[in-house]
């Protein structure tokens, strides 16, 4: 099969029926593997890794905090991608997937903020500080809220899909701008994103990096969260498709009275 033909085959999943059939087939795999990864990762991380010499056992909240933060950002990126697909190719499933993902993104952002606060209290002596990373997540949270509110406020589904897609595009640019603005405004307490560096320099174990002992269970949790996110998005998109169909049937009944 040529590359172009393969690409065309991919678009077939934009058909609601095909999407439902396929997603129902693959969903059990995502549910099981994600729960397995998270359970194993958390048990490994909570009970079979030593306490940090400086942070004590509080460090272990990292197994929830980092994967949630990762998914909070990736969820928005996924919404951006599906919004673009909707604007360019006008596949309804794509728009509905963006709609389905937003509440998951809100929850992930809230988990990241809450676990961060719980971690920050013993470490920095405060639940909240206007640190750039914390502030950026708060702003991301506001963007999610606005996005969901706009979806809810508009009755016509195609109009809602169009408007939220444009908002997602414009919002992405402004979210990025806010990130830089906030960095400039306050150079903060939060350590840099330490996971990727640890992955790149495996074996090196300095203060700022996550050491190997913590890294492998953390990686497992991150993979688990990604899989969980995919399962949730598939599940919620299926629900949105069915809700849309019911709405369309009702509207048709009204029109044809």
């Amino acid at each position: 099969m040529s590359i172009a033909a393969k690409a065309n085959a991919l678009w077939e999943y934009a058909n609601p029926r095909k999407f439902l059939a396929t997603s129902e087939r693959v969903m059990p795999f995502f549910w099981i593997t994600s729960i397995a990864c998270i359970v194993v990762g958390l048990i490994w991380g909570f009970f079979f890794t030593p306490d940090d010499y400086k942070q004590g056992s509080t460090v272990k909240i990292i197994y929830l905090h980092v994967p949630a933060a990762l998914m909070a950002i990736n969820c928005w990126l996924m919404m951006l991608a599906t919004s673009l697909v909707w604007l360019v190719r006008r596949h309804h499933v794509s728009a509905l997937a963006a709609r389905a993902a937003a509440p998951i993104g809100i929850v992930m952002t809230l988990i990241a903020l809450a676990t961060g606060a719980i971690w920050g209290q013993p470490m920095w002596g405060t639940w909240w500080a206007w640190d750039p990373r914390l502030t950026s997540f708060l702003i991301l949270f506001l963007f999610y809220l606005g996005y969901v509110a706009l979806w809810e406020a508009i009755e016509d589904p195609d109009t809602a899909a169009d408007l939220t897609s444009v908002l997602c595009l414009v919002g992405s640019v402004f979210a990025l701008l806010s990130r830089y603005a906030v960095n400039f405004w306050n150079q903060g307490l939060h350590q840099g994103a330490s996971v990727m560096r640890a992955a790149a320099v495996t074996g090196a174990d300095t203060e700022e990096k996550v050491s190997n002992i913590y890294f492998y269970p953390l990686l497992l949790c991150m993979i688990g969260f990604v899989l969980l996110f995919i399962a949730l998005v598939l599940y919620r998109t299926g629900t949105e498709i069915r809700a849309r169909r019911i709405k369309a049937l009702l509207a048709r009944e009204r029109v044809n009275g």
Binding site: L150, A153, V170, A175
Partner: protein, 218 residues
């Protein structure tokens, strides 16, 4: 295009209120601040730049829901959309009219309110400069928000929810210019960033606003 601008200005003047409402709100917010934080002049002079920026931002926000809603309700937008004028120019003109009737008066009023908040003397010029550069961005971003919510019955609150996060970068850099200026620090970096944001939003955002308005007119 000029006809549209002149009409909007005329309407703002004759409606009696659209003009003054934002200013009155700005005044009240500023006057209420000392009541809530206490009258110590040292504290007031520290927070004055930020309070004045926030007050201007809120006053600007307050007037956004009327920006396109009136033309929407009476069908003017339908006819404007079919006119030879591109919708991109229509929203740009609308934003300009909004700035002239809301943003500019706020800029001019800000120094007087600065006196009430004990703004340090070097801060006055920087406050005016930062507002002068920053308020156009607020009008343009606000027009985008107004275009998004124009078809909604009670879009006012949603409009605020959508626009406020978009205002964050402008507010940060604008207030930073005013704050640094008041403390006699160098202001070049935030000033350049603020000007950059304003220039970019004026250049790019009208396309998004027009696209969104077209969708809403369907």
């Amino acid at each position: 295009m000029i006809a549209l601008l002149l009409r909007d200005l005329k309407l703002a003047l004759r409606a009696g209120g659209g003009f003054g409402l934002g200013l009155a709100f700005f005044l009240i917010v500023t006057v209420l601040v000392p009541f809530s934080v206490g009258p110590q002049s040292s504290l007031l002079s520290t927070i004055a730049p930020g309070i004045l920026w926030l007050g201007a931002l809120l006053a600007c926000l307050l007037s956004l829901d009327r920006l396109l809603a009136l033309d929407w309700e009476d069908g003017s937008l339908d006819l404007l959309a079919t006119a030879p004028l591109p919708l991109e120019s229509v929203v740009t003109i609308k934003a300009l009219a909004h700035w002239l009737t809301t943003g500019l008066p706020l800029v001019l009023a800000a120094p007087f309110l600065g006196v009430l908040l004990n703004l340090p003397v070097p801060g006055f010029s920087w406050l005016v400069i930062s507002l002068l550069i920053g308020t156009p961005a607020m009008s343009v971003i606000g027009t985008f928000g107004a275009a998004l919510t124009v078809g909604l019955k009670r879009g006012g609150l949603l409009l605020s929810l959508l626009v406020l996060p978009l205002y964050v970068p402008t507010l940060i850099f604008g207030a930073e210019v005013a704050r640094r200026g008041a403390m006699g620090m160098e202001t070049q970096t935030p000033l350049l960033m603020l000007a950059g944001i304003t220039a970019a939003t004026i250049a790019l955002l009208p396309f998004a606003s027009a696209a969104v308005l077209r969708i809403n007119l369907r």
